[in-house]
């Protein structure tokens, strides 16, 4: 075992022995995500490097503390990418943090999420054991799919020491079309297009100066993208400008996400609603939302004290709501970040965490506030 990994395993064993809570941290760019982190920082910064990458295998194996930007640059050199477009909420975003947070970018509805691309992982569990699950191949049903459940686990099951990811070639062609339409029309159009063999890849609807704008990104074979552009109409945007905007959307740097002058309420938190793509326009007061994922992910700005109503609306639509970012005023500290689980599912969660981390040292209370 290499020294960096041994050190981490050793530290975990020591923490387990005296039940010291540890807070696993990569680049620290998502400290805002989930419940408030607790415990002594256990950094993955020393676990860096790409262990293996063979473009013709469409698989890369990379250590958890590796900066995501570094991985993406290596893939880009070979004309490949992580198709789910993980967000970079800061320059230090790591691959382990990307998996642990389980967040995916604009293309998610069309191409899948982080977990869909995880093929295998090596983790250090709460006993300090270094364990590998899954592998480096596309099809693998040997044993339970433990590596995929790490995606979105917020560090509650262990330290992600290494992960193998499926990668794909960058699409040969790309185009962004813009349409002026209301939210309701955008949702209708997106679901209609989704039922046709079109190279849809990402979409974004928002209001600008009171008027609704739908942006649609196509990716695929040259012929397919050109045919779709001719067929769908709309206004074709300059690719370079559009690419910068999609990246800003991915990283939540679009003006919509900033507190602007129309948003005088410093108590407004950022809510993420994950709902079926066919859910109608939701009756949530305040500013118009920003809608992504062909209707599947809708961002709202609303005070934390709206939690009950927002969560009811999300449930009624068949989805759930996350208090993604707290307001500038830090109001609403006691509002849970994530929706409550059903009793049997909550029991399985507790038991699963106990099996991976029997001394309860990892990211205590990060997924659900400590009981």
């Amino acid at each position: 075992m290499d020294p960096a990994l041994s050190q981490i395993a050793e530290r975990i064993r020591a923490a387990a022995a005296d039940a010291t809570p540890l807070r696993i941290r990569g680049g620290g760019t998502k400290d805002f995500h989930g419940e408030t982190p607790q415990g002594d920082i256990l950094s993955t910064a020393a676990l860096t490097g790409i262990t293996s990458y063979e473009p013709s295998e469409l698989v890369v194996t990379v250590r958890g503390g590796t900066p995501l930007a570094e991985l993406e640059a290596v893939l880009a050199e070979k004309g490949q990418c992580l198709p789910f477009e993980p967000p970079h909420f800061g320059p230090g975003t790591t691959v382990g943090g990307m998996v642990a947070a389980g967040l995916s970018g604009p293309a998610r509805a069309s191409v899948g999420a982080v977990r869909d691309y995880v093929l295998g992982a090596t983790l250090v569990n709460g006993r300090g054991e270094v364990l590998s699950f899954g592998g480096q191949v596309m099809k693998n049903v040997a044993g339970y799919d433990v590596s995929r459940v790490l995606a979105g686990s917020l560090g509650t099951l262990g330290v992600i020491a290494e992960v193998s990811l499926k990668v794909l070639p960058v699409a040969p062609a790309e185009a962004t079309l813009e349409f002026a339409c209301s939210q309701a029309d955008a949702l209708r159009l997106l679901n209609e297009w989704g039922g046709r063999p079109l190279p849809l890849n990402a979409s974004c609807w928002f209001e600008h100066g009171g008027a609704g704008i739908l942006q649609l990104r196509l990716r695929g074979a040259v012929a397919a993208v050109e045919a779709a552009c001719a067929h769908l109409g709309g206004e074709r945007r300059d690719n370079a400008v559009a690419a910068a905007d999609w990246q800003s959307l991915r990283d939540q740097r679009l003006p919509w996400f900033a507190a602007d002058d129309t948003d005088t309420d410093t108590d407004a938190a950022l809510w993420r609603l994950s709902v079926p793509q066919t859910a109608p326009v939701l009756a949530i007061d305040g500013n118009a939302p920003l809608v992504e994922w062909h209707g599947g992910q809708r961002w709202y700005k609303a005070a934390p004290d709206q939690a009950a109503r927002i969560r009811d609306i999300a449930h009624a639509a068949g989805g759930h709501a996350t208090l993604f970012r707290k307001p500038a005023s830090q109001a609403g500290g006691d509002v849970p970040r994530f929706d409550a689980l059903s009793a049997p599912v909550a029991r399985i969660h507790r038991a699963l965490m106990h099996e991976f981390d029997p001394h309860r040292i990892f990211n205590r209370g990060r997924l659900f506030a400590d009981e």
């Binding site: 295998e57 999420a113 869909d116 596309m138 099809k139 044993g143 074979a221 989805g319």
Partner: protein, 501 residues
């Protein structure tokens, strides 16, 4: 003899009969008479799944018709401490649905209704016993289909697909069951109602759906599934390419992927397999070729034209000795007919065959083929090979005669050798058929004791009493000790510098 003490066998048999009556009485409260069977002549059809070499009659078979009955069966069995083995169509190839000698087989065959096809959200809500192909048939009027297409799709059920994380010939481009299921509804071992995933693209908390899919019925019982439907491609065309050398064919597969192409299907047959299927389907395969590649493109007419051109160029520069491109749907089906009939064709040339299912990194395709050729000599048995080459999933078919105990024994050794060689090459013992009971020993070679123990921990978290399909998938420490082979995982060989073949 009446007063003679019972022999151990008689004692066990009596205990088994008592246990059976106890379970039957307890379940009769919840199930109608026709939904409960226990006489040997009635339970015999349930004694195995598609892996017929392993057989075991269950004590009782329950055939519930409602979710309330499923919950009642599970609760009752949980109270009595009775193992429960859920069963779909019984087409599995690894013994995952093999009954437990002292357990209840929970047949979900009656859950066969399609509850909703929604063309707007492009989803289908189906009961677990609905056949894979039936979903695509029901979605066809909307020009939609369910993408994963295991070869058994005419018979296998979606519940079984969830249990096995089934693939098919198109999964490189369209994904596995995991990538095409949104929600699983069902019950825990205790009989509590649970939902994993949801109608949205994610759900709060840990992604338990990812754990449940592929868990071979050991974590929960699935009764209902929401699947994604995708638009049917307007057109599909297939290239059939011949190679005079397996290494060139293997390299061609890597070259296609390296060129940035993700084919809709990429399959390979070796020479013995080609001969066997040609004799069966008379599709005009090139019998002189050392290997044949089938390479499919789908999409719009423009897209397919573009991709077929790029694929043809790559295959040619990789040394293909002959290339044919399908010009009609009939011709495309003819190209595929042999590949799809690989199993029955093997059944014709041998009394029995054993199908393996390991996966290796694509670049090792030629290496494993050559290694298998050496094993044919070592074990004195023939082997035909079909591969899902695009994703490195192998299906070697070892030909043998089960009536010859020595052949059967050599066949088992041959199979284990292929699996362990695959793991050593950086692969896995099962790509899509599951571990079941068949590959328990090989799991000792792929996972360390601590890893297997962590997987037992996952099992305990879902099913603390260990009653759902016990004894499958994860080998015990004792079993691995008896098997006596060490972990040979890719890149972690004790002496990686030594040549192995």
């Amino acid at each position: 003899m009446m007063n003679a003490p019972l022999t151990a066998v008689q004692h066990d048999s009596l205990q088994k009969t008592d246990r059976q009556s106890q379970i039957v009485r307890a379940l009769q409260v919840h199930l109608p008479a026709h939904a409960l069977i226990w006489h040997a002549e009635d339970t015999t059809p349930y004694e195995c799944d598609g892996l017929t070499a392993y057989r075991q009659r269950p004590l009782v078979v329950a055939l519930p018709e409602t979710e309330a009955q499923v919950a009642a069966v599970l609760k009752t069995c949980h109270q009595l401490g009775v193992p429960v083995v859920a069963r779909g169509a019984g087409t599995g190839l690894s013994g995952g649905a093999m009954p437990h000698a002292l357990g209840v087989t929970l047949s979900l065959a009656k859950f066969n209704r399609i509850l909703k096809i929604d063309p707007v959200s492009r989803t289908a809500v189906v009961q677990c016993g609905v056949r894979n192909l039936a979903i695509s048939e029901a979605a066809a009027p909307f020009n939609l289909y369910y993408a994963p297409d295991p070869s058994s799709q005419i018979a296998c059920t979606i519940g079984g697909n969830v249990a096995e994380n089934s693939g098919g010939v198109h999964c490189l481009k369209y994904g596995l069951t995991l990538h095409n299921v949104l929600r699983v509804r069902g019950f825990t071992a205790e009989g509590a109602f649970v939902e994993f995933g949801g109608e949205a693209l994610d759900a709060p908390g840990l992604d338990l759906l990812a754990l449940v899919i592929g868990s071979e019925g050991m974590l929960a019982v699935t009764t209902e599934v929401t699947v994604k439907l995708v638009p049917k491609p307007q057109l599909a065309r297939c290239i059939m390419a011949s190679f005079d050398d397996v290494r060139k064919a293997g390299d061609a597969v890597a070259a296609v992927i390296a060129a940035g192409i993700i084919p809709a299907g990429l399959e390979m047959m070796d020479k013995p397999m080609t001969a066997a299927v040609e004799d069966f389907v008379h599709a005009g395969y090139d019998l002189d070729a050392a290997a044949i590649l089938l390479c499919e493109s789908d999409g719009t007419a423009e897209e397919v034209e573009e991709e077929i051109g790029r694929m043809t160029a790559v295959l040619r520069s990789s040394g293909a000795t002959a290339i044919a491109v399908s010009t009609s749907e009939d011709e495309r089906m003819k190209f595929w007919s042999g590949r799809k009939n690989a199993f029955p064709a093997s059944g014709r040339i041998s009394p029995d065959y054993m199908c393996l299912d390991s996966t290796i990194p694509r670049k090792r395709l030629a290496d494993i083929l050559l290694a298998i050729q050496e094993m044919e000599k070592k074990y004195k048995l023939r082997c035909c090979n079909v591969f899902h080459a695009g994703d490195g999933n192998l299906h070697p078919l070892v030909l043998f005669d089960a009536n010859d105990p020595d052949e059967l024994h050599r066949c088992e050794l041959f199979g284990a050798d292929i699996l362990e060689t695959s793991v050593a090459m950086g692969g896995t013992v099962s790509g899509e058929h599951g571990v079941g009971v068949e590959k328990l020993n090989s799991m000792c070679v792929q996972f360390t004791a601590a890893e297997n123990e962590q997987m037992f921990g996952v099992k305990r978290a879902f099913d603390p009493a260990g009653l759902l399909n016990p004894g499958k998938v994860i080998p015990t420490l004792q079993r691995c000790a008896e098997y006596g082979k060490q972990v040979v995982r890719g890149g972690r060989l004790p002496h990686p510098d030594l040549p192995r073949f």
